[in-house]
């Protein structure tokens, strides 16, 4: 998955979660699982799965009168892209919702890192004495 993650609502996330666990399912099967957790109609679940299909996150095959949906992207892939979106790709400069520990855009060569580590080691030795 190379595109940015589309915006997903709470129901869409729950549907995805279900499909990651159960490989594929119809809207009715998903609704049967989700109805105990939230008060949602079958039509609402159907619409959510249709939206996910249009967003390119689900594939579907015709099964009788209904469709069987399956997730195209795995949870790890989706989360990975979401992390990239949130924290910024290493050459981007627009990120504010995350406060993170290290900037990857600055490329330091191995020699410079060796020098820094040597300097740190020396300072620690001086302190120990």
């Amino acid at each position: 998955m190379t595109q940015r993650v589309p915006a997903l609502g709470e129901l869409e996330i729950q549907v995805l979660g279900h499909l990651w666990e159960h490989k594929d399912a119809t809207a009715k099967e998903v609704h049967a699982q989700l109805v105990t957790a939230r008060n949602t109609s079958a039509n609402t679940v159907q619409s959510a799965m249709e939206r996910l299909y249009r967003k390119g996150l689900l594939a579907r095959v015709k099964a009788g009168h209904s469709y069987r949906y399956a997730a195209i992207v795995s949870k790890a892939e989706l989360l990975g892209e979401l992390i990239n979106d949130l924290v910024g790709r290493f050459h981007a400069d627009t990120c504010s919702s995350a406060a993170a520990i290290l900037h990857a855009a600055e490329r330091i060569d191995a020699h410079a890192l060796d020098c820094l580590e040597e300097e740190i080691r020396k300072r620690r030795q001086e302190r120990a004495l």
Binding site: V5, A7, L8, E10, I13, G17, K75, A76, L78, L79, G80, L82, I83, N84, D85, L86, V87, G88, R89, F90, A92, D93, T94, C95, S96, S97, A98, A99, A100, I101, L102, H103, A104, A105, E106, R107, I108, D109, A110, A112, L113, L116, E117, E119, I120, R123, R124, R127
Partner: protein, 316 residues
């Protein structure tokens, strides 16, 4: 054109000019941030980012007060001594502005572009926070510290109302327990001082700036360096420097597109190797705050010159 709208156009023109001055001062004064300690750099960055907002507001306010003062006779009313078509900041003698003046068009264009930039910035921040909420929904329960099954070494904090620290499996594999505590302490420092909220507000205020990259970079560096300095209250600064170097090695060695952002790595390590709170203690932040007070007062003092300039600009 009615005269109240003439006064409005004059005030908008003053706001536009003050905005230009605010941007110019921010660009000229920005390099000084690099000389300051992280704490001072943050305060200074706030002062600079607010300039294109505060200056127009203060200038318009002062001109409105001036208009009221002249109409009430609190100051000498010389409006009738001016030539015709010389616009006045006066509520008793409202100005008439030509409806087809290029100056009016420029002011309208400026206002539209500024509103569009601000709206885009607000929308961008909203999308980012929506994605952050989306990401948190993938993890069950409400937790402050969460594990992410990702091989890349990273740690970040997201969320405004209920921030969560996410630490990747890759980072846990790379670092020792003590080093992980150092990383967690850094992220907790961000939460304690509401850095996510402050950075969000800062990004939205940046929308009024023409040149944003420099100020953004200084802000980010100061934010990360401040979090580092807070960590050094509990842990050795050299230990933190060592953690940063190990992370940077992991970042440069990996084939994955590392999705972590922060600030100037080598400058942060250099800061940790020096004494804490390095940097000159200069009154720059205080001086920066004087500008929003001084400029409107100068405008009020020289309001006749401003009226003449606006008359030339908006009447042409």
């Amino acid at each position: 054109m009615s005269s109240w709208s003439g006064l409005l156009w004059m005030l908008l023109a003053v706001a536009a000019l003050a905005w230009v001055v605010g941007n110019l001062i921010a660009v000229v004064a920005m390099p000084a941030v690099a000389w300051l300690s992280p704490r001072q750099a943050r305060h200074y960055s706030w002062a600079l980012v607010l300039l294109p907002w505060v200056l127009p507001v203060m200038s318009v306010t002062v001109m409105l007060l001036l208009s009221l003062a002249k109409s009430q006779g609190w100051i000498v009313d010389h409006c009738l001594a001016h030539q015709q078509h010389h616009p006045h900041f006066c509520l008793a003698h409202l100005p008439v502005i030509a409806s087809n003046s290029p100056g009016r068009f420029i002011v309208a264009l400026w206002g539209t572009l500024l509103l569009a930039a601000v709206a885009a910035a607000v929308l961008r921040q909203w999308h980012q926070h929506h994605k952050a909420r989306m990401f948190k929904r993938f993890l069950p329960g409400r937790r402050v510290l969460a594990n992410v099954m990702d091989l890349r070494p990273f740690a970040f904090t997201i969320g405004i109302g209920a921030p969560t620290i996410f630490i990747s499996q890759g980072l846990k594999t790379l670092l020792s327990k003590r080093e992980l505590r150092i990383v967690t302490a850094h992220e907790i420092a961000h939460i304690r001082h509401r850095d996510v909220v402050k950075t969000t507000v800062f990004e939205m205020l940046l929308a009024a700036h023409v040149r944003r990259a420099g100020l953004r970079r200084h802000w980010r560096f100061a934010t990360e360096a401040l979090a580092d300095s807070r960590v050094t209250r509990r842990f050795d600064g050299l230990e933190l420097a060592q953690v940063l170097v190990r992370l940077e090695r992991a970042v440069t060695a990996t084939v994955y597109p590392i999705a972590i952002a922060g600030a100037d790595f080598s400058a942060r390590v250099a800061l940790l190797l020096r004494a804490p709170e390095h940097g000159k203690r200069l009154p720059w932040p205080a001086l920066a705050w004087l500008v929003p007070v001084a400029l409107p007062l100068v405008l009020a003092w020289q309001h006749h010159t401003v009226e003449t300039l606006l008359g030339w600009w908006l009447h042409q």
